[in-house]
């Protein structure tokens, strides 16, 4: 598919969907709503923010308290997430597992179309210096996408479909030159990622390592790493009201914030910065692999870029 054909394709998508894609913003690429298709950044650069707000909004209504805990309505907007890269799909695959029984997530997910992008082949994740695990050769079989675009050196795109929904859309728009890839599960045929298991073992034994004390002195517990992280999904449930609404809603939680673990009476298991940061790493490198056999960190490096005091996740992992 040529670029102008792709633009035509997106234009017709736009009739039905709110389009979200990476856009150039100064030196960064930032995921936001797209009105002008020409503004989309096709460079394949890692966006500064993650896609998670599409799938797990920073705040979402769960119940209407004025109506006796009637569940919030299922009217979710149709959203097309265009330009998701391989590691972002890895994060989405994790979300699909974590929220498999969550009615709000699933409603939203159902109305979302995912269109992937990889520049110069699926190996392009290597340029992000993914450190936490090895990705398989046949990576497209292990991520859940609707449509995937692989940008070739000449600038044209190879098109894949990964779901019936993706197929239908391509067929409707009379795009015939595509290959279908069947999702073969999140875990590769060779079993859980070896690098992930190695890191898990190291992390489990790392409690007394000097690194946690060092981070205690550096980290200011601002929580920015959690906010940009595509796999951080902690949440709080909160009742709130304003003039018109009275709702129980779910909002992003943050394990760096002070009341995250605080219970009535004042006891707080995570009472130091080092305990908080340990908790964060433990979730990604032990708890998630323990529960789902896939990594809790996709190696996108967003946390390192956003950290105001320069904590680099790959450097930390070398010292555990």
């Amino acid at each position: 598919m040529k670029q102008d054909e792709l633009n035509k394709f997106l234009k017709s998508l736009k009739k039905e969907y709110f389009l979200f894609a990476p856009k150039v913003d100064g030196q960064n690429s930032v995921i936001s709503e797209v009105n002008d298709i020409k503004a989309i950044d096709w460079s394949g650069k890692m966006p500064k923010n993650s896609w998670k707000k599409i799938f797990l909004p920073a705040r979402e209504n769960m119940f209407d308290l004025n109506k006796d805990f009637k569940g919030a309505s299922g009217q979710h907007p149709m959203v097309a997430a265009v330009g998701m890269n391989i590691v972002d799909f890895k994060a989405l695959t994790l979300f699909d597992l974590v929220f498999s029984k969550d009615v709000y997530y699933n409603r939203r997910r159902k109305n979302t179309l995912t269109v992937g992008l990889s520049v110069n082949g699926p190996n392009d994740y290597k340029k992000y210096k993914v450190f936490s695990h090895n990705y398989e050769e046949n990576i497209l079989e292990h991520i859940k996408f609707d449509i995937f675009l692989m940008k070739k050196r000449g600038g044209s795109y190879r098109v894949y479909s990964g779901s019936q929904k993706g197929k239908n859309i391509l067929n409707e728009l009379k795009i015939k030159d595509y290959e279908h890839i069947e999702f073969a599960g999140a875990i590769s045929e060779q079993g859980p990622d070896k690098k992930m298991l190695e890191l898990k073992k190291k992390m489990e034994k790392s409690k007394d390592r000097a690194i946690w004390g060092q981070l205690n002195d550096i980290c200011i517990a601002c929580g920015k790493c959690s906010i940009v992280c595509p796999t951080c999904f902690c949440f709080d449930i909160e009742d709130s009201s304003d003039l018109n609404n009275n709702t129980r809603s779910r909002k992003w939680g943050n394990c760096f914030y002070n009341d995250f673990s605080k219970v009535a009476g004042g006891h707080k298991p995570l009472d130091t910065v080092s305990k908080k940061i340990f908790f964060w790493y433990y979730h990604k490198f032990v708890r998630t692999p323990h529960e789902y056999q896939i990594p809790g960190c996709v190696g996108c490096g967003r946390c390192s870029k956003v950290c105001p005091v320069g904590i680099k996740i790959n450097e930390v992992l070398k010292k555990i």
């Binding site: 974590v98 029984k101 009615v103 999904f233 902690c234 449930i237 009275n246 394990c255 908790f279």
Partner: protein, 270 residues
């Protein structure tokens, strides 16, 4: 798809003032079918909430044998929501979800020398176990209960304690009693000085984290094995189903894998 966060309406059947800051609420689902099919295990908990006040996890303290008619929660006034819950009256309506958590595996206590240790309002989740032993639903070799509390005002289940003492060896100790108190004075750990505790005992303890630290020391002195020590943890939580991460401890979730843990499994994360 079922909404796992959907609260159900329950009616307050009765309220008993258990102590100066704790009310025992007897609750029954407004939907009768829900109540009829309701069942739980000792040690499990409910998320109880009020519109605009949020939810909080509270241990069920009734015996499961009446589960098709009602269940009971003892709520201590320690925060905004629990304060509100303490002002509930008969006939009021509240919202619950649950039961959540693993509860006690009572099979492990069968024919054992069972020692229950409760500190403060940590004593609440032990009540269903005690009730089941007293009513012979749970057969044990012997039952010892250590109950430590601040003072007479905060002592729970006062009317029931005497009855329990007939079928078990109940020791109550108060940290700061009034002069009228004829019983023992001190911390719950002081009871280990005067009571015989067999090294083969199976121990269940519930109380604040600081209590665990000191009680475990005493249990080790009595040569009780880690695998025979069980405890129930209280962490902040929202979802109740192991997703929101607030209650995570090591690789586990208090809401899903707990709140009851075997000390052997959890000690390195405490």
């Amino acid at each position: 798809m079922i909404n796992i966060y959907q609260p159900q309406k329950v009616k307050v059947i009765s309220v008993v003032k258990e102590s100066v800051d704790t009310r025992l609420l007897r609750l029954s689902f407004v939907d009768r079918k829900t109540q009829k099919s309701f069942s739980y295990l000792p040690g499990q908990f409910m998320q109880i909430g009020l519109s605009n006040w949020g939810e909080c996890p509270i241990s069920i303290c009734s015996s499961p044998s009446n589960s098709e008619k009602f269940f009971e929660l003892s709520v201590r006034d320690v925060g905004n929501l629990t304060h509100k819950l303490n002002s509930l009256k008969k006939g009021d309506e509240v919202y619950v979800r649950g039961p959540y958590g693993n509860g006690f595996d009572t099979g492990l206590f069968k024919n054992q020398e069972l020692l229950l240790i409760g500190g403060g309002c940590g004593f609440i989740p032990l009540r269903p176990l005690i009730k089941d032993v007293i009513s012979d639903k749970l057969k044990v070799k012997s039952l010892k209960i250590f109950y430590g509390c601040l003072n007479e005002d905060t002592l729970l289940f006062k009317k029931e304690l005497a009855g329990w003492n007939r079928k078990s060896e109940l020791s109550t100790i108060l940290e700061k009693p009034t002069k009228k108190w004829a019983g023992e004075k001190g911390m719950v750990t002081d009871l280990f000085k005067t009571r015989k505790v067999s090294p083969d005992s199976v121990v269940v303890m519930v109380g604040p984290p600081i209590m665990y630290r000191f009680v475990i020391k005493e249990l080790k002195k009595k040569k009780i094995k880690d695998k025979n020590i069980y405890l129930s943890l209280e962490n902040r939580m929202y979802c109740g189903v192991g997703v929101c991460q607030h209650c995570a401890i090591g690789p586990y979730y208090v809401c899903k894998d707990g709140p009851v843990f075997c000390y052997r499994d959890i000690k390195k994360y405490m």
